[in-house]
């Protein structure tokens, strides 16, 4: 019985020693970074395979170290180093490099002014070799129209940083910029006037059996001119019935010609906004 235990113990010790020796034959540093050189120590000679998430590297080597260039080591994640024919292998990790690329999604591309939380910016942070940088990274978002603007810095979590922002009170092409270090990505969000704030019309003239009505300059509640092309509807009601004209805003003003009537009521509307009412009479 004693002999048997002794033999088993010796076997266990030998196994452990062999394992330690084998582990020492292939050594990969545990601080590898994508894009940076890597030195792997391997005893004996043979073929070394490095199998990564998005690539494979093959090296013939003789006893000593195997140098991998920075530009060769592109994929971050879980790698396996294998010495062919020697049954040696080791798992190691490669971390992403410094943030160098941003994938920036800005929505929407066109938005009314002065609305809360209507613009969203989502940024995924990548290194030079398109590995997502999982570690927290400060990402700066800047939204500006002309000289006015606001900047907010958000720390990325698991590679993503995002903000919601209000649109500015001033219409125009807003520059939406996301930046990490020296890397900057720009998007344009067109901020357009919101609905008209006040719709006021007047009679602009008469000629024969026609009457011309036109609005005052149409602006939203922030004072931005409502874009040309926006439809304004004029409705005339008299004893003959109803006449409707859809006119487009041109240079801030909408104009319509209506049939002259003895006693008519004219109303004006744009979208959900109603304007004033006019009573006209006499040919």
């Amino acid at each position: 019985m004693r002999t048997l235990i002794f033999i088993l113990l010796v076997l266990a010790v030998c196994w452990f020693a062999a394992d330690c020796a084998r582990a020492a034959e292939l050594h990969v540093p545990d601080n590898a970074v994508a894009g940076q050189p890597l030195t792997i120590n391997a005893a004996g000679s043979g073929t070394l395979y490095l199998i990564g998430p998005g690539q494979m590297i093959k090296r013939e080597f003789k006893s000593g170290s195997v140098d991998i260039k920075g530009e060769e080591l592109r994929s971050a994640g879980r790698w396996i180093a294998i010495v062919k024919g020697d049954h040696q292998s080791q798992v190691f990790w490669v971390k992403p490099g410094k943030p160098a690329n941003l994938s920036f999604l800005a929505r929407p591309s066109r938005v009314p002014v002065a609305r809360p939380n209507v613009i969203s910016g989502v940024t995924f942070v990548f290194d030079k070799y398109q590995n997502m940088v999982i570690d927290s990274t400060p990402v700066s978002f800047k939204l500006s129209v002309g000289d006015a603007g606001s900047t907010k810095t958000v720390t990325s979590h698991a590679g993503v940083a995002w903000i919601n922002s209000a649109s500015a009170a001033k219409a125009g092409a807003a520059q939406f910029v996301a930046s990490v270090g020296d890397t900057t990505v720009r998007r344009v969000v067109q901020q357009v006037a919101a609905d008209p704030c006040k719709l006021q019309m007047h009679v602009a003239g008469r000629s024969g059996d026609r009457v011309t009505v036109e609005t005052d300059p149409i602006r939203d509640c922030s004072g931005n001119p409502v874009p040309d092309g926006t439809i304004v509807t004029f409705i005339q009601t008299d004893k003959n019935g109803k006449s409707t004209v859809d006119a487009r805003i041109k240079k801030d003003i909408a104009r319509a010609e209506l049939p002259a009537s003895d006693n008519a009521t004219i109303t004006v509307a744009a979208g959900v906004v109603l304007g004033n009412e006019l009573h006209v009479g006499g040919r």
Partner: protein, 174 residues
């Protein structure tokens, strides 16, 4: 005479087992991996039920595609389930494997997936996956490396024409 019978029977059993084992492995490889998805912690938008089902279906299909592509060194499964950086990287991996006569067998023992980000416009979702995976690297038919580990993955999926595709897939040490 009896000894001869036993010998023949033993040979038959060995033959049957040797044929059945690779077949069983192939069947297991083609089986969809078990994926559990939770979406309660997704920010800033809540994941809709329909989206949750679609993500579960398509992320499962993506892992099945990885297994098939890396074992058989074929690109077609990848093209159907991946896009962007993830597709570029996995394509390169398959090409490199093929060039060097290697293949990788993934024995997928399941994924616990959590949606951690869902974009305000509903166009992109990020998942954190804790996967139990056995990886075997084969040179021809010989296994030259085998390990089993719990691996953390981060995946970004975006909506494509008829499904969600994996755009980023990255493993991270934790």
């Amino acid at each position: 005479m009896k000894l001869a019978r036993i010998m023949v029977l033993t040979c038959g059993v060995v033959l049957a087992v040797s044929g059945a084992v690779p077949l069983l492995k192939r069947i297991l490889a083609d089986t969809k991996p078990a994926v559990q998805l939770t979406v309660q912690n997704a920010q800033p938008r809540e994941v809709e039920d329909v989206t949750q089902k679609a993500i579960l279906r398509d992320y499962t299909a993506a892992w099945q595609a990885i297994s098939t592509a890396l074992e058989n060194n074929t690109l077609q499964p990848l093209n159907e389930n991946f896009s962007g950086f993830a597709l570029d990287k996995l394509t390169q991996r398959v090409k490199d494997q093929k060039q060097n006569g290697l293949s990788t067998r993934i024995i997928d023992r399941g994924h616990k997936v959590e949606a951690i980000f869902y974009s305000p416009d509903g166009a992109a979702i990020e998942l954190k996956d804790t996967a139990n995976i056995e990886t075997q690297v084969l040179d021809g038919g010989t296994v030259i490396h085998s390990d089993q580990a719990q691996i953390h993955y981060y995946a970004v999926m975006t909506g494509a024409e008829d499904r969600w595709k994996v755009r980023v897939l990255e493993s991270a040490a934790q």
